[in-house]
């Protein structure tokens, strides 16, 4: 076969090949590789003037290159140093020392097609490049659809959680529900009381007996609070071991304090979890708001916190009724 016929054959089979002579001069270039090298004809130029071997490192002469025959090379175009082409070299003519270097885009096929405006005709009919591009595009579309669904479901889940009024662990109301109830009572300038209840020593139970024990204690405490309050009262878990009780229509201070006392008394008894005694207690800060007041929710909660702090400071397991002059009960 004449060398011209051979070159024509290679142009069809490997449109991205170059034929390089022993001295490194390019004597023929496939149509696609020539299309990519925009700065001028490849034929007649030195291979290393137009291509750089990125990996393996240290390949700068034709002899270095020849030794890598048959193994995978990574090349960059001198025109476009960011390019990443895969290549393999095979000896062509033993008498003249020429060689064929075939190139491909490898993983950068998508960038290649975009950057150089290539079409089906630029690839060999047997090349899987077009199938690869098809796959990337189809997969990306499917992936996008799935990602949008994920985001939508995630959004719906967050919205549902935000709208929920129940603390899932204890079945009590949550902070959001408590805020609603409080806002309504404040808006109506009603007569009501707010009790802030903190569990003492809860962290010690969690740390020494584990989260399962801690969860059990919270559920038991919730049960006790529900039992010791009236149906119209709101019992909410507003933090890890923090509870808020909202008690509408408080008739007397005695009745208010009696509820606090009963909660404190019952929580003094150890709660059993798998045969282990979990010991916690309750510190309470209470604010009683009379009808026709002008206080806002923030101030009420803050007053209850002040009273709670006094209970804790005074040695825990007790209650304090907030008074404007700060006196304790």
């Amino acid at each position: 076969m004449t060398s011209l016929a051979q070159a024509g054959m290679l142009d069809v089979l490997c449109p991205m090949h170059v034929l390089v002579e022993k001295d490194g001069t390019i004597s023929h270039a496939g149509p696609t590789i020539q299309k990519i090298c925009k700065t001028g004809a490849l034929v007649g130029e030195a291979f290393f003037d137009r291509f750089a071997v990125k990996r393996p490192k240290g390949i700068v002469t034709m002899d270095d290159l020849r030794r890598k025959a048959g193994s995978r090379l990574h090349l960059a175009l001198e025109d476009d140093p960011g390019s990443d082409l895969k290549a393999v070299l095979v000896p062509h003519d033993h008498r003249t020392g020429s060689m064929v270097i075939n190139l491909s885009f490898g993983i950068s096929i998508l960038d290649g097609v975009r950057d150089y405006a290539l079409s089906n005709a630029d690839f060999a009919a047997t090349d899987l490049a077009i199938e690869m591009l098809y796959l990337i595009e189809a997969k990306s579309a499917a992936m996008d659809a799935s990602r949008r669904l994920n985001l939508r479901l995630q959004g719906a889940k967050i919205a549902a959680e935000e709208q929920a009024f129940t603390d899932t662990l204890t079945g009590l109301k949550n902070r959001r529900a408590m805020d609603h109830v409080l806002a309504r009572l404040v808006g109506n300038q009603a007569n009501f009381a707010v009790m802030q209840i903190d569990l003492d020593f809860f962290k010690a139970v969690n740390d020494s007996l584990g989260h399962a024990a801690g969860d059990h204690v919270l559920q038991a405490v919730a049960q006790i609070m529900v039992e010791e309050t009236r149906n119209a009262d709101t019992v909410a878990r507003v933090g890890g071991d923090e509870f808020t009780l909202i008690l509408p229509d408080v008739a007397t201070e005695q009745m208010l304090l009696a509820i606090g006392d009963r909660v404190i008394e019952r929580l003094k008894k150890p709660i059993l979890f798998q045969g282990q005694a979990c010991k916690v207690s309750a510190s309470i800060g209470t604010v009683w708001i009379l009808e026709n007041h002008t206080m806002d929710a923030k101030d009420i909660l803050s007053d209850a916190d002040v009273a709670l702090y006094q209970s804790k400071k005074a040695g825990r397991s007790r209650q304090t009724l907030f008074r404007r002059n700060g006196a304790r009960v």
């Binding site: 990996r55 995978r72 990337i136 990602r147 994920n150 995630q154 989260h211």
Partner: protein, 195 residues
């Protein structure tokens, strides 16, 4: 950080230490998230907090856990796909090592927003290789050490691995290929279909 990475940490912790430990980890990291979604994105610092929390809860150094995570990812039968995708890198362990440069791009081909650390492999002769690893979260190099150990075994190669973190935060893994035909290795069939 991509959900796939956080989810991998979750699977590793749950499968290795149990669901209770995972509960403690998310609690200790002060995360509202308990279950990570593989196909969602999370803030980078979530991953860092997770890893710190696992270390705290288990009382084990971070680098040891990350290496363990790497081992888990390619050896657990549940994630046979990860091992297979890595074996696409080459027929021999050497070829596999030389293909590691392509790994982040290959990963991006599959999941376009998955940013793995940039990898650069350097052949030093005499069976010595150096793998540079530059990522947004430090410590990724240790995950690769764990993975490389299992993959070498998979190819039947005997290797020595060393890890070093440079001043600029770039991690370096030194790989010495002692014997490329040390053991039989595991069969890999390019066309095998999973499940």
């Amino acid at each position: 950080m991509h959900g796939l990475i956080n989810r991998s940490i979750q699977n590793y912790v749950c499968d290795t230490f149990g669901n209770d430990v995972w509960g403690q980890v998310t609690g200790s990291a002060d995360l509202a998230i308990i279950d990570f979604e593989a196909m969602m994105s999370y803030d980078d610092d979530v991953t860092t907090r997770l890893v710190d929390a696992v270390s705290l809860v288990m009382g084990r150094p971070i680098h040891e856990l990350l290496e363990d995570l790497g081992t888990y990812l390619v050896s657990t039968p549940k994630l046979e796909g990860v091992r297979r995708l890595l074996r696409f890198g080459g027929v021999t362990f050497e070829e596999f090592l030389l293909s590691l440069d392509d790994l982040p791009d290959r990963a991006r081909l599959a999941v376009s927003d998955l940013d793995l650390p940039e990898l650069e492999i350097d052949e030093r002769g005499n069976g010595c290789f150096e793998l540079l690893c530059r990522g947004s979260v430090s410590g990724f190099g240790y995950v690769f050490v764990g993975m490389l150990r299992v993959i070498a075994d998979d190819y039947g190669a005997l290797v020595l691995l060393d890890h070093e973190t440079g001043k600029n935060g770039v991690e370096k893994i030194f790989i010495t290929l002692v014997d490329k035909d040390f053991a039989q290795g595991r069969q890999f069939d390019l066309g095998a279909r999973l499940g």
